[in-house]
Symmetry: C2
Subunit: 320 residues, 2 copies
């Protein structure tokens, strides 16, 4: 259990040995964990300094990771770069893929990259975690099953994607392990920033120490998380601990055109594919390269007081 200011932590092992175990029995564990959180905030129990750089992923492996594409602006832009038409139905029927969940990287884990020709990209996204969700759940009821909120870096190998999408069976090799933020928060802890199944606020992305993305996660999110959960659960139950992603956060530019870089007054990008697309649209060719060994990616959000909410995902690409 981590304090709201991410400065302190307390052992919760007596309530549940793992976060998965807590989610398996959330009705019992949630009130106990809340009491522990209150005690931790008041400093009335033994506590240790929390060092987010030492944190593992909240769920180092999960029974499910499914990623939506709720920011349809992103989908439209990336398709444009591939010269692929975007069906009109993408505005009403969520795109979603089943991801590998057997290894979720820790927030400071390197991004292993055996071949730079694969076109390694980051994707900064919001994720939620559910308890058990019944098959056929409505969008409204699905909202009640959202127990935790956090961040993910959904690493993508862009140059492997066209061939895999061409096969129609989704991503296998083109989506290696994703990294989770050090801390996940309950929706109520997010205050007004969490409303109607969406998280508002700037999703900060720095690339090699420079501001790269400053999009607002609450803007241009066509499908809220309730809709995404209901979409996934249409034909099957979802097990507790299911992680569901928003897809790459992406805002339209103020004039409705493709987004501008942060250093030109825009909100920037949450993945390289998008800046490369904008460059292609504006200049005829992509100039920003994909990630290479030594590149660093930093992803985080702050609350209205400027405090880090989930801690930072901070990864360096490693030739391995």
């Amino acid at each position: 259990m981590v304090s709201d200011d991410l400065a302190w932590c307390a052992d919760a092992g007596h309530l549940a040995p793992t976060l998965q175990a807590a989610l398996d029995d959330w009705a019992r564990t949630e009130p106990l964990l809340r009491l522990l959180a209150t005690d931790l905030e008041h400093g009335v129990i033994p506590r240790d300094r929390f060092h987010e750089r030492k944190a593992d992923a909240p769920l180092p492996r999960a029974y499910q990771w499914a990623d939506g594409s709720a920011y349809v602006n992103h989908v439209e832009l990336v398709r444009k770069a591939r010269r692929a038409e975007m069906p009109e139905s993408f505005w009403t029927d969520p795109l979603m893929y089943q991801g590998g969940s057997d290894e979720m990287l820790a927030p400071r884990d390197p991004i292993p990259l055996a071949d730079e020709a694969w076109g390694c990209d980051l994707e900064a996204e919001i994720v939620i975690v559910t308890d058990d969700v019944p098959r056929g759940v409505s969008r409204e009821d699905a909202l009640d099953h959202i127990k935790l909120v956090g961040l993910v870096n959904d690493v993508s190998l862009r140059n492997l994607i066209p061939a895999e999408l061409g096969k129609g069976f989704g991503f296998v090799q083109s989506k290696p392990a994703s990294a989770l933020s050090p801390v996940f928060a309950t929706p109520d802890a997010l205050g007004d920033a969490w409303a109607d199944g969406r998280l508002s606020g700037v999703l900060n992305v720095d690339l090699n120490g420079q501001p790269f993305g400053r999009a607002d996660a609450g803007v241009d999110m066509t499908f809220d998380f309730g809709t995404l959960v209901a979409h996934l659960a249409k034909t099957r139950n979802l097990g507790a601990g299911s992680i569901i992603g928003s897809g790459t956060v992406s805002n339209r530019d103020a004039d409705g055109g493709p987004g501008r870089p942060v250093d030109r007054g825009g909100k920037g990008y949450s993945c390289l594919a998008e800046v490369r697309t904008v460059e292609t649209i504006l200049d005829g060719a992509a100039a920003t390269p994909f990630l290479k060994a030594g590149d660093t990616v930093r992803i985080w959000m702050e609350d209205v007081r400027g405090r880090s909410i989930f801690g930072a995902i901070e990864q360096t690409v490693s030739a391995a």
Copy 2:
């Protein structure tokens, strides 16, 4: 731990609380489990009757379920029915999709089906389970990471598939929960039937009590399990307990044409889509309907002595 004849079982909880826990630490648990198995066969430890109908799935939830399409004959036939061309690369580059693994049905669980218009189908397949597999593993080394072998009924909602494949992101709603066989076996326990990453023997499928499929799993398997594991692990590690499927088992007819039904001397089919395809090719239209409430599916394999190897998957479709 279940005896080879599936008649007896013994508690293995003192060695590992779950099969997942055993796989997490297989180097330590495997020799202990083997000793337990020997003691069980010799009847020198407390044992109970094993009732496969009471068995849960060996992994009721798993951290990964990825399904190949190793029987390319099946892929070619199903595509033919959809009037979709099959790229030549499908003979050399495995098709594979990431499936939902948060709920693996027990072998006797009903198949819940809210809407018969979804076109519910069975798919009888072989699965293997790995321990931890390192990224970039070779096909040969991958074979050593195959620790268990079993069966799956990979339930599919055929009428939801074309729209999802059209989106390119793979299966989400069109692949509800799959059911596993009551027992998984180690490769060496399969004797000569397991060789070169393939399991030989007839995969029996009965539909409503009538023989429906009698294909040999060792025949026409274009990609062996070592190749499938290596394909999945090309860009990422695989966590212990990853379940990897063969895809629907399918044999060519002796004359090279589409397979004939069992009652016409053929090897039949391991899914309804295939018989419907053959009917379409031969008669111009599919005659066999998809599954409806009350239909029963039975899937099992026998060893050379006619003993059930993995127990039977036996499911009834339930309107729910």
